[in-house]
């Protein structure tokens, strides 16, 4: 599939005027994308745990049913945790959205092809697993509706957004895992998080 969407533009638009949205960013390119859109205490960017981003979104969504939760991750990361789509489909959290920024490549290791380059359809997997909505997006005109769905559409929602496989500048979030955890909890739960 010949994509023309740019990953940084897509993520910036998804996170624009994010309000009280809670975000988990999968390791590698999507963590850099989310940071480029603006480092934020309510974004938990991953530096490891490949395959776990969607499950972190599930735990967070179950803990806070009244808040919207967005997982932004890559196709390689999602493929490593594909079973989690089934687990989320069973729990069906209405406040969770998983958006895969799909460049059909492993961006951090030399741009090798992922399975999506050979036609593996992650949106079809999510649909088969019981997600309320699941689609593959290729057009710029679809991104505004995706952002609206992330904020308001009863889920679980899934979207694979096909993007150009180009290299973009790396924008690093803080690396200290303890700091990233503590600042997220303090921003979400207040000072009480420190003594919980």
């Amino acid at each position: 599939m010949s994509a023309n969407l740019k990953r940084r533009d897509v993520v910036a638009r998804l996170l624009a005027e994010r309000g009280d949205l809670l975000v988990v960013a999968g390791l590698g390119s999507t963590a850099w994308d989310c940071t480029a859109a603006g480092d934020h205490p309510l974004t938990f960017p991953l530096w490891g745990a490949m395959g776990q981003a969607a499950m972190m979104g599930l735990g967070l969504a179950l803990a806070h049913p009244s808040r919207r939760v967005l997982v932004v991750t890559g196709d390689g990361e999602m493929l490593m945790g594909m079973g989690s789509l089934a687990t989320i489909g069973v729990q069906r959290p209405a406040n969770l959205s998983v958006v895969v920024i799909d460049n059909e490549r492993y961006g951090e290791t030399g741009m090798q092809a992922t399975h999506t380059a050979s036609g593996v359809d992650l949106a079809a997997v999510a649909r088969a697993c019981g997600f309320a909505h699941a689609s593959t997006l290729t057009r710029e005109s679809e991104i505004a509706a995706l952002r609206a769905a992330v904020h308001a559409q009863p889920g679980p929602n899934f979207a694979a957004v096909k993007v150009v496989a180009d290299k973009v500048p790396i924008v690093l979030p803080p690396r200290d895992g303890g700091l990233l955890k503590a600042r997220f909890r303090r921003a979400l739960l207040g000072d009480a998080a420190d003594t919980q």
Binding site: Q52, L58, G59, V90, R185
Partner: protein
Amino acid sequence: MSEAIDWPLEVHRILSAAKLRQVGYVPDAGHKRLIELCRADDEMRAVPLTTEEEGIGLAVGAWLGGERCALLMQSSGVGNIINALGTIKECRFPLPMLITMRGEYGEFNPWQVPMGQATPAVLEAMGVVVQPVREAAGIPAAVDAALRLAYNSYVATAVLISQQVIGIKSFQEQAAR
């Protein structure tokens, strides 16, 4: 006999008192009754997983959101969580795990033995505080201590419940189930 204690009931009571709100699990014969008790508890979200590794992500998300999450698994599942435990250690997430042992005391399935024998060493290598328990009567106190240690010190803890407690299955018994 110490076996008279209804340890799953006691452990469920302890999890409830400690305000565990999410329990991730991969179905396991040794945890069967505890899983049923958690599933029947309206205050707990029991989350069946396709692989134990998903439980690490679940627990991370739960704690980011201010909820406590415990994981129930068999020792063979420990092999599935090793890399993800790196995130628990680096970020100092609290994570109590209750692990029923295979490949240990009188195991009948040779394929269970390598992972079962490696379980304590693997967990300790990844920074998990390990507490083996060989008698049913000792399980509630060990679980209580594991929860306190996890949430007071922001570490991963594992209570390893021996096959001496769970019982030894034979091929014949397994086939008859």
